[in-house]
């Protein structure tokens, strides 16, 4: 499995993975070579209720996830696998526990299923480790070295999302013959929600484009924008974007999976403001660019409504948050704002003039 993963260059999926958009084989190698007995964590704690893919996979096909985790453990010489589930996700917990006992009985790996807080930040890999170590307050760890060298109780630790593990299993079952682009082989799972009649979770091969997602759901009206990549995804007017890591990154969008479709009538300025406020409220409080940055970002966006056109200031702050925050939370927190500015700068200027072209802000 180590060999196949290395040959194909399979990448980690989702913000909870230790190898987000990076080849998983590299971090296995690091963990094997690091001092101490390695451990494997299945990170299925995603508190965003609209990002369903990981919970769904673990609950619906726990064997695919946990068997694959045990295989990773064997590959890197880890005697223990820990499955980390959101405390509110009873179904995932129950099913994972049943399968964990089963897999434990047929392998030499010990498997524990435990829960963590139903908080967005608790899904970030280093904060997941903090939760697993029993910390009563979560905050991100300094990196490097990352969890693959200094992870659970200081042991080398590989954290993968159920999505990554399911891909690995597919890789094994199909003997390395997986679809998609060479740079990001396999398929990716997307949750689609927002102004749709019914939410959906679907899988796209990485040589597809996001436009296919539009076919899976019915919208209430016409699409004004989409937020691609979860809570801190990027805003875009078009879904003509490749469904793989490099393509999404080139379009400055998030790779985390969830895609929120927004109708006409939804204001991107207000949307960006709400995401900045979410970052301000939910951050762990450790580093200045995220803790103080998200606060000032929210204030700057608010002052746009007061007629100040501070677009350069907003861009500067967003850059600093992205470039200097400790973890992916802070590094992605300003993405909704930056991408909204890129795509909808005219709407920002309109707001500074006291006008909301979409009408959302004047109603509220």
């Amino acid at each position: 499995m180590l060999k196949r993963a290395a040959e194909t260059g399979l990448r980690g999926r989702g913000r909870g993975d230790v190898a987000t958009d990076e080849p998983v084989a590299d971090c296995w190698q690091t963990a094997r070579e690091a001092t101490g007995e390695p451990a494997v964590v299945v990170n299925a704690n995603e508190a965003d209720p609209r990002a369903m893919a990981d919970g769904l996979l673990l609950a619906a096909d726990p064997f695919a996830v946990i068997d694959s985790a045990a295989a990773v453990a064997n590959a890197i010489g880890a005697p223990a696998v820990v499955v980390y589930v959101t405390e509110t996700d009873e179904r995932a917990y129950r099913n994972a526990t049943t399968v964990a006992n089963l897999v434990e009985s047929i392998t030499s790996v010990s498997i524990d299923v435990v829960v963590g807080p139903d908080e967005y930040m608790a899904g970030e890999p280093t904060m997941a480790l903090e939760s697993l170590e029993g910390s009563d307050r979560l905050e991100a760890r300094v990196r490097p070295p990352g969890p693959e060298e200094h992870g659970l109780f200081g042991r080398p630790t590989v954290l993968h999302t159920p999505r990554t593990l399911a891909q690995l299993r597919r890789l094994a079952l199909e003997d390395g013959d997986v679809p998609g682009v060479d740079s990001d082989p396999g398929s990716r799972v997307f949750d689609i929600y927002g102004d749709v009649t019914a939410v959906a979770t679907t899988e796209l091969e990485t040589d597809d484009t996001l436009a296919t997602l539009r076919e899976c759901v019915e919208m209430d009206g016409s699409m004004n924008a989409a937020c691609v990549g979860g809570v801190f995804g990027g805003l875009t007017e078009t879904l003509d974007v490749p469904a793989n890591a490099d393509g999404l990154a080139a379009a400055e969008l998030g790779t985390d999976g969830p895609v929120e479709l927004l109708n006409r009538g939804r204001c991107p300025v207000a949307f960006a403001g709400r995401r900045a406020a979410f970052a301000r409220k939910e951050n762990c409080g450790r580093c200045v660019p995220c803790r103080e940055g998200s606060k000032q970002l929210t204030e700057l966006l608010r002052s746009v409504y007061d007629g100040d056109s501070l677009i350069d200031d907003i861009r500067e702050l967003a850059r600093v948050m992205e470039r200097s925050s400790i973890c992916s939370f802070g590094r992605s927190a300003a993405r909704p704002v930056t991408t909204a500015l890129n795509e909808f700068e005219a709407e920002f200027r309109a707001h500074a003039d006291g006008r909301c072209p979409d009408g959302e802000c004047t109603h509220s």
Binding site: A80, V115, G134, A140, H150, G285, C287, V288, R323, S324
Partner: protein, 1047 residues
């Protein structure tokens, strides 16, 4: 609640996997609220890299930040700490970000340094990140420099000035409604969270340096704040031990020493930190402190200082300051803040703050010195102003080897009220018609000279006894014994070390050769294993305990044998409770076990020792069962301790009064020395016999300087004519060759009429002697008593002449710490009024008695010491200053000193140690029907010895203001005593009243009392029973009875 969490069996959050990280039983329960970051240990080897085009090489352990500094570049690195390696990079402020070719933008404080790295500090991207992040820090900082206690010493201020911040992008935190009240509930430390930048240094200083687990970070996002692990709302309710580390490391005015809180604020009424914030949770002084003492920081009322300088400097600042000042007067309480925020830009604020702090800090003197409390020998800077001690802060690491350039304890950091205490003696006193009256120095010295001469003429030279002081400097103690032996010609010179480690000195001289700690504090900090017994290390030697706790947390084994479950035992891998008084039994039992199981170091024993067979014979009866019968030690505990000690690569044996203050104290220490020899843990780094000495200078002043009745300075024998010749050559008098009287013998001889006069320098035997009722009778019976002290102590009250002396802060000279390190003492302030340094008093008196002493300074006295004392042969003040302390033996100017003893053999002619088998003795008093409880005595963290210094420190008295007696809950039940209730404690000698503290620190049937108090003085109860070899009294065991006090 969600069904998952409300089920009968709660779902686990922590998986059942192995945690390989070391911890102690206490540290594993610390809730710091901070992440388990990877260690940032710096470069693996020597690494070469390029910074801004310059090639630099960093040494192993150095970081990217060091490389940047080496290249001459500069980044702010606000949250980075350089006080202690225990404080890891927090990497939260991101004001040290630089650009690298390989990794892009990285924080220089925590990013691993790599060979061949290319670093640009001045790229546009890096500069933008640093600038924005510095402004973000300022946006949440209550920037009110002119009312801030840290003004002029603030790292944020320094950075902002250096970066020429004029108007920060996001403003500063000045929303009065959002201010948190100042926490002013501690007598020593003030917390102003409005100025906190969440660098976390204080949390690590508390948890990782002091290993105390008081502070933590709580909350998330904007609610993130410094808080207490025990969930107390304020300092007063926390478990803080006031070590002061948090204040030492705080980069801003968020945690400050109370004494320094208003050092550099505008000298205008109301311009202080407290008024700036408006609301404070106040400190309530303890009941037993002086009710008139000021509990709040006071602001100076003088404007003239600023005005005077203003005429000469910076016209612009002058106008603004005056303007601000006038408005402040008009507008009242919150003016400081309001005026400042409405009138000034942040840049102007910095200008004025810098101006004010420079002027105000110019008036503050900083003096490097050595602590005057215990013998660890911490070094620090004393901040003083107008001859008043404001506070202390650690000095540079290279000048502070014992405290790692960093550590302090509550006494060393905050215990200085006594220096400026109102009841300091400021004039000599002479007793006339039964009353002490102020007199001139001339009259007082004349009276002393006359009376001492008369006694000598009438009753002989030996009718006078002198007591030296372990609190005074080496130079002063050398002169004290010289005064006794040369000027008075008496053989009777001793000091209070008789009462603490005389049995240690006696035992170690017999077995290994020197009566001193064999190793360095550095070795105590780095050994693989400890046996600690009879030492309440966390309370008596807090800074040493800190090093031990750190090392145990990092994996060293700690074994504690003690009758009480003391603080250090909480961190131990093995704590074994022993019954007081039978220590030889378990130590001999350990030796027997080691030999029986072939765990002894045969090669070491064969090459380096004599008389092993005698030892084997002597320990034979101490079978595990017999040991259990004698002192209650479980055979399994005995076995595990023996195996751990014997199989460790290195082991330090640490002890204090719990071993020594017994009627068989010498035997206890002999047994420990034998154990160290049998296991071969001597003569190498990180191992050794470590008696933790008591007073700041008990090693030097209480021993090395010959303030002992049995040896001359440097432990040179009285019966060696060559030695006596050498002294006679320099002194023009031959020292008495006879052995003189010990402290307890002096008291006996007073009652016999053989001693008629006493000269006591800086000691308080009226409280410290066993059975003080008897001792006070002796002091009364004397024909003439001189006491030289800071205060009218319980002893001075009996004196005929009292001479006002200088405190350690008011003198210069040297102290020798517990690891034999001679360190400089610097004079920070002047003695009050007519008080004088002890050496100068003795010189005047010697000259009045016909000798010609002409020392210009303590340095000259040290020159005479190095002439006469071979182990101090290479020690001069110049060298000590230059080399940061010297450890004896240091025989000549080229000798670098001796970090640890016996590397090349033991201190005997043949270089071999002697096994001197220890005999088990019985305690002098055993509990019986009439007095059924065993009383043991000792110290508490906040106080020192008889409390003459610490009972005068308000903050300390608010922590522990009165005597108490610890009683086990079961015993308390039987006696019908409840916690806090006053009880009467009686022995065959006396009776006192103290408050009961019901706790299981001590076992059933054993009670504990501290030794520091005059009211409820425990030495009313102790007995005059002495170790026959060393003469040390048995303070640790008396039989008592306790009853509720209904008076």
């Amino acid at each position: 609640m969600h069904p998952l969490m409300s089920s009968e069996n709660p779902i686990p959050r922590v998986p059942d996997v192995t945690d390989p990280q070391p911890s102690t039983p206490l540290t594993e329960d610390f809730t710091t609220g901070t992440a388990n970051d990877p260690a940032c240990s710096g470069a693996d080897g020597r690494v070469q890299l390029t910074v801004d085009g310059r090639s630099v090489t960093v040494d192993p352990g150095e970081t990217l930040l060091d490389a940047i500094e080496a290249a001459g570049a500069d980044v702010s690195a606000l949250c980075h700490d350089d006080h202690s390696d225990e404080i890891a990079p927090r990497s939260e402020c991101r004001t040290c970000v630089v650009e690298t070719a390989a990794h892009g933008l990285v924080p220089a404080c925590s990013f691993p340094v790599e060979e061949g790295m290319t670093v640009h500090t001045d790229s546009a991207n890096a500069t933008e990140v640093r600038d924005v992040n510095l402004d973000l820090v300022l946006s949440n900082h209550n920037l009110r420099c002119t009312t801030c206690g840290q003004n002029g010493r603030c790292e944020l201020q320094d950075t902002a000035i250096q970066q020429e911040i004029e108007e920060p992008r996001y403003g500063v935190f000045d929303d009065r409604d959002a201010y948190e009240p100042i926490d002013d509930t501690s007598p020593f430390i003030q917390i102003d969270r409005n100025k906190c930048i969440l660098c976390n240094r204080c949390v690590e200083a508390c948890n990782d340096v002091q290993v105390e687990g008081v502070l933590r970070i709580e909350g998330s996002g904007e609610e993130t704040r410094i808080a207490f692990q025990n969930e107390s709302e304020a300092m007063a309710g926390s478990s803080c031990v006031s070590c002061g580390h948090c204040a030492t490391v705080c980069p801003t005015g968020s945690i400050t020493e109370n004494g320094l809180a208003d050092t550099a604020t505008l000298p205008i009424p109301g311009f202080n930190q407290q008024n700036s914030i408006g609301e404070a949770i106040e400190y309530e002084p303890g009941e037993s402190t002086d009710p008139d003492a000021p509990a709040e920081p006071t602001a100076s009322t003088s404007l003239s200082g600023v005005a005077g300088v203003m005429d000469r400097a910076r016209r612009q600042a002058e106008t603004t300051v005056r303007d601000v000042a006038e408005r402040a007067f008009l507008e009242g309480e919150h003016a400081a803040e309001r005026v400042a925020s409405s009138v000034l830009s942040e840049g102007q604020m910095f200008d004025i703050a810098e101006f004010v702090s420079k002027h105000r800090l110019d008036a503050v003197d900083v003096t490097e010195t050595t602590c005057g409390y215990c013998s660890v020998g911490c070094r620090f800077d004393v901040y003083s102003k107008d001859d008043e001690v404001l506070g202390v802060r650690p000095t540079d690491a290279e000048h502070a080897p014992a405290n790692d350039g960093f550590s302090t304890c509550v006494k060393g950091k905050f215990g200085y009220d006594f220096v400026n205490s109102d009841d300091r003696l400021e004039q000599p006193l002479i007793r006339e018609n039964g009353v002490l009256r102020e007199a001139t120095w001339d009259a007082a010295l004349e009276r002393v000279a006359t009376e001492l001469s008369e006694l000598t003429d009438e009753y002989g030279t030996d009718s006078i006894a002198c007591f030296a002081s372990s609190k005074c400097t080496n130079e002063e103690n050398y002169l004290m014994q010289k005064f006794a032996r040369q000027v008075l010609g008496t053989k009777n010179i001793d000091n209070c070390a008789r009462l603490c480690h005389s049995s240690t000195v006696a035992a170690l001289k017999q077995t290994v050769g020197y009566g001193a700690m064999t190793n360095r504090i550095e070795d105590v900090a780095n050994t693989d294993c400890y046996l600690i017994t009879g030492s309440n290390t966390t309370e008596s030697h807090p800074v040493l305990a800190t090093r031990i706790k750190q090392n145990v947390r990092d994996g060293a084994d700690l074994i504690v044998f003690d009758p009480r479950k003391i603080g250090i035992a909480e961190h131990a891998d093995q704590y074994t409770r022993v019954e007081p008084g039978h220590d030889v039994a378990w130590i001999n039992g350990l030796i027997r076990y080691v030999i029986q199981h072939d765990l002894h170091d045969e090669a070491f024993i064969a090459d380096n020792t004599h008389d092993f067979d005698e030892l084997k014979r002597k320990v034979e009866p101490f079978t595990p069962d017999e040991v259990e019968r004698l002192c209650g030690v479980d055979p399994a505990d005995l076995a595990s301790a023996a195996e751990t000690i014997a199989t460790a690569d290195t082991c330090v044996f640490g002890w204090a009064m719990g071993m020594t203050q017994h009627a068989h104290g010498t035997q206890n220490v002999l047994a420990l020395a034998n154990l160290a020899l049998v296991t071969g843990h001597l003569g190498k780094p990180n191992a050794g016999l470590s008696p933790f000495r008591g007073h700041n200078n008990v090693q030097g002043g209480g021993g090395d300087m010959g303030t002992l009745p049995s040896t001359l300075p440097g432990y040179q024998p009285l019966d060696d004519p060559a030695v006596l010749d050498a002294f006679e050559d320099v002194w023009d008098e031959r020292p008495p060759a006879e052995v003189g009287l010990t402290v307890p013998e002096v008291f006996t001889e007073v009652h016999e009429g053989n001693v008629r006069g006493m000269y006591i320098m800086g000691e308080n035997p009226a409280l410290s002697e066993p059975d003080i009722g008897h001792a006070k009778d002796a002091l009364e019976a004397l024909e003439f008593l001189v006491v030289q002290d800071l205060f009218l102590t319980e002893t001075a009250e009996h004196a005929d002449v009292v001479l006002p002396a200088a405190s350690f802060a008011e003198k210069s000279g040297t102290f020798t710490n517990t690891e034999r390190r001679v360190q400089l003492v610097g004079q920070a302030v002047s003695p009050p009024d007519a008080a004088r340094q002890d050496w100068s008093i003795l010189q005047s008196l010697a000259n009045r008695l016909g000798y010609e002493w002409s020392y210009e300074s303590p340095a000259e006295i040290m020159d005479e010491i190095s002439d006469l004392v071979p182990i101090y042969g290479g020690i001069t003040h110049d060298r000590v200053a230059r080399e940061g302390g010297l450890q004896w033996p240091c025989r000549d100017a080229d000798d670098p000193g001796t970090p640890y003893l016996y590397e090349d053999g033991f201190n005997f002619e043949d270089g071999k140690a002697r096994f001197v088998p220890a005999d088990m003795g019985e305690p002098g008093e055993l509990p019986g029907e009439e007095y059924p409880l065993t009383l043991t005595t000792g110290r508490v963290l906040y106080h020192f010895h008889t409390g003459t210094l610490t009972r005068r420190v308000n903050g300390i008295m608010s922590h522990v203001g009165e005597s108490f007696v610890e009683i086990h809950p079961d015993t308390a039940d039987q006696l019908g005593v409840s916690d806090g209730q006053n009880v009467r404690v009686e022995s065959r000698r006396g009776s006192i009243v103290a408050a009961a503290r019901v706790t299981d620190h001590a076992d059933r049937g054993v009670v504990f009392m501290p030794m520091h108090f005059a009211t409820g003085a425990v030495n009313e109860l102790t007995q005059e029973r002495f170790d026959p070899i060393s003469g040390i009294p048995e303070y640790k065991i008396s039989s008592v009875r306790i009853s509720p006090d209904n008076a």
